[in-house]
Symmetry: C2
Subunit: 331 residues, 2 copies
Amino acid sequence: MESPEAVVTVADLGEFGLIAAMRALLPAGHAQLLGIGDDAAVVRAPDARVVATSDLLVEGRHFRRDWSGPVDIGGKAAAQNMADVAAMGATPTALLVGLAVPGDLPADWVLDLTRGLAEESAAAGAFVAGGDVSAADSVLLCITALGDLAGREPVTRGGARPGDRVAVTGALGGAAAGLALLAAGLADDLADPGLLSLVAAHRRPRPPYAAGPRAAVFGATSMIDVSDGLIQDLGHISEESDVAIEVDPGLLADSAVVPAASLRAAAAALGGADWLDWVLAGGDDHALAATFPPDAALPPGWSVIGLVRAGNDARVTGRSDVYPGWEHFRR
Amino acid sequence: MESPEAVVTVADLGEFGLIAAMRALLPAGHAQLLGIGDDAAVVRAPDARVVATSDLLVEGRHFRRDWSGPVDIGGKAAAQNMADVAAMGATPTALLVGLAVPGDLPADWVLDLTRGLAEESAAAGAFVAGGDVSAADSVLLCITALGDLAGREPVTRGGARPGDRVAVTGALGGAAAGLALLAAGLADDLADPGLLSLVAAHRRPRPPYAAGPRAAVFGATSMIDVSDGLIQDLGHISEESDVAIEVDPGLLADSAVVPAASLRAAAAALGGADWLDWVLAGGDDHALAATFPPDAALPPGWSVIGLVRAGNDARVTGRSDVYPGWEHFRR
């Protein structure tokens, strides 16, 4: 074991030393005109409009350092923001990263987090354009993602029409099941690759970035990043579009987005949880849900799971449960 | 006094209730194509490039709730980010706001902070396009500001050349003096309007937003937002431009950017502090410093304070002091 004296902390490097070490791990992107190191970055916005979204990740609330490593935390922070860009039908171009950390945190932890940010940005075709570093009592990440629409109209939550088909792409349920395994203390002893993949899904979502712009090209009438829970997020489409959304649990359970066998195994390992609840109400997978006109061909990789009707709620055929999703100030 | 039971907290409103109440206080801006309420905002970027910068403000480190009210904290957070945009020669267009707060914080505090954000954005011609709200143990703000260059090249820190004149606009020294008065416990008993204006300068910087783009039009070769301390920030220009910068303390002290009489009065009230130190090393005023070619006319409102020479440091004629500026992980 390394002796504690050998650990270089964030305070050892200092603000400017830390930024220099992070910067060395962050490659330029194709949208970069001016990168890290000036008062602000300059990023290409070829469409003359820029898509922009911000998310906070707070230690102990959005992640635990004992449940996730820094590469995954950085990757997940980047992923959840870029999934929001994709859900508008846009392509991610750049990230800005606000990072607050305790001074006694090992500098390597921050550098691994930076590697995760760099890796995930590159996977989506984006880059880290700038940010800020500050001291704080616990770790907090604030990411802003920018994106380009390439001439398309943004796909909002407000365009679904009765008769449209509801479809999803990406993955659903795995992150919530993985979190349940971690919370039950079972994650360290898993050998089943299916169960391990659920824990991995919690630690590191893999949003289908390219599917967002492609759905826009195929005529998606509305779209959302599934981050709070499928039914709650479809509820946002229902509200903004003033329609009802009905999800068929059979279509959903059989769809390619649901790792049903692994979810069933996890439910058994946890003594009989309702695995479909992870799919309907679990967050953090960052699948995309969208609505498509009745006569439109669906892009490859999307599964139809339901229908848009006249009305004003989102529900699951044959279920009366309410799906509250995530509330940050829950007491 | 209001009874504690009557105070509506952030947790009482809940995440979605809080966001709705904040949203009602945030007007649209001229750059808004799609505002708060979808997965991401869509902001005009007419130049086909977007200037982007992020800053964190952490309670107890960047502000104290007992020293500054929420309107000023929101205004300052917006101001410091938009000053970075202006320092590139760009015009602020939009802000994204990440806000972490304890659930037991009065909702009115957050709404007043929102008013400060709205007020300052509007003063710079920008608007709040989106953001995120989360629970945390103390207040943390993370702002991203976007801006437009209107066809101009960005003014970086790297273009100063020997022979250029160094000039500043805005205000210098007041914020640091105001902070010193607050730290000494003198701020509550002040009657002198000059001293009160210093405390106000700490609580609410007034960056000269329009001066940034105008300096670009007048041919500024380099520019920086003075946030860490004048000499330290000029040191960044020195480093990136590979030049020496020499500031004439006489020119500086007599310039329109320095409220010399109030600073002298504050120094006396504090038992003889060196008031020029607030000007040279104090942060938080968000003045702009720039270099202009020897033969260029200066835009209105700028004061020449020194000269660019061959060399590689930033110093003050006749002073050998080192000006370390702000370091977040100082121990």
